[in-house]
């Protein structure tokens, strides 16, 4: 497009500069520029604008590479897929088997999946419960006292958590449906962030985990670690996280007595 004087328009100069013109149009612009100093001066001016802008833009802080962020995304993708797979398997009983060869593969998958079972324990199954967060900032996490955060898991959701872990008729008072990432640290009340923790098994109880969560929240609010790091540590392996922060192999006695949550009834 030429302007009233037959020169290349500013827009076309811009498009040519950014390589956005088709080859024949770009060639036409180049040909005109070869003969036209005013047009070249205008193009140089636009290029100068690029340099000025990049002087500012280039100074914006480059976020540090974060392997944890990619790992978290990977875990969430896996969770998404395993949930879809589980939904398909559960829904299969009422469906007419489509093709024999295909259904045989599915059947093997059902048997394998069923035989592998899913054990409830102090650490959740990383595929069923990779952790899920709400979008909150550190300020928001620190603005609310932990006891003000709704920690009650709705009964229907708790039932689905037990279903997911293949636990039938859980005895009242024997489990707590616990958050992997606690609500006070941005954990979501979602299937991916909940698992049944047996009270009777071992020393790594949800009480010990509560003590760790209070400790992590203190660190976040004191600005010593960021919220994402606290969430990642909890969701990766909270027991290792506890050992690291309290420098001990076993839970401290006062933490084993730490009582905060009521059991799932």
């Amino acid at each position: 497009m030429r302007d009233a004087d037959g020169h290349v328009s500013d827009i076309d100069l811009m498009l040519a500069l950014d390589g956005e013109l088709a080859a024949d149009q770009a060639a036409g612009v180049e040909q005109h520029l070869a003969h036209c100093w005013p047009c070249r001066a205008r193009r140089a001016e636009l290029d100068r604008g690029v340099a000025v802008y990049m002087g500012l833009h280039g100074d914006l802080a480059a976020p540090a590479p974060d392997a944890g962020a990619a790992a978290l995304l990977r875990a969430r993708i896996r969770q998404e897929e395993s949930r879809r797979r589980a939904t398909r398997l559960w829904g299969w009983h009422g469906v007419r088997p489509p093709v024999l060869a295909g259904s045989a593969a599915l059947l093997v998958a059902v048997i394998w999946f069923g035989a592998a079972g899913v054990k409830a324990g102090p650490l959740p199954d990383s595929q069923l419960t990779p952790g899920a967060v709400r979008l909150i900032s550190s300020q928001q996490a620190c603005g609310v006292a932990p006891e003000d955060e709704g920690r009650l898991v709705p009964a229907d959701l708790a039932r689905r958590v037990f279903e997911q872990y293949r636990i039938r008729d859980p005895k009242p008072g024997s489990y707590e449906v616990d958050y992997l990432i606690s609500p006070a640290l941005g954990g979501a009340t979602a299937l991916q962030n909940l698992w049944p923790v047996p009270y009777a098994e071992g020393v790594w109880t949800s009480r010990v985990k509560d003590a760790l969560e209070d400790h992590l929240r203190g660190l976040v609010c004191a600005g010593r670690i960021d919220l994402g790091e606290a969430q990642r540590e909890l969701s990766t392996n909270w027991i290792e996280c506890y050992r690291k922060h309290f420098r001990t192999r076993r839970p401290l006695v006062q933490h084993m007595r730490f009582v905060k949550d009521s059991p799932w009834e």
Partner: protein
Amino acid sequence: MTGAGRTQPDPLGDEVVALFQTLRPGVLRYLASLGTPGEDGEDILQETFLALYRHLRDGKPRDNLPGWVFRVARNLALKRMRGEARAAGEALEVEIADPAENPEERAINRERLRSVQAVLAALSGVDRECLFLRAEGLGYREIAAVLDISLGSVAASIQRALGRLARASNRWK
């Protein structure tokens, strides 16, 4: 952890995670410029790429993926800020991050810098976002898709904004 050993090959997951690593710095800077820095930006980034995974898994179009990512991240950021602004009872104001925070800036001629920044601040939001996205390496077609405007508008925004920046800088040569 009973499920740890049950990983299966997932080429689509690999692709999405690879794209995440490539685009993460640029999208985080963009989110910061829109007003959602730090952890907020990281959260939005996670949601965006999980949405990308679902998008591709469901066989939806895979052309212009960087544009798709920037657009979804932008929508999530704006949605979130609208929610926060409502909660705080304040008007939504989108400001570009203040580059004067960087100590390296002090070496530059302050008056010139101030003048250029004033021009940048006076640009329309669309002009400023076009510049930002172009500087992050997006093509015009991708920028048009992110901001939901025409190709012609992108070219006009960038040309207008660069012209003003150059003139502001020239005054202090």
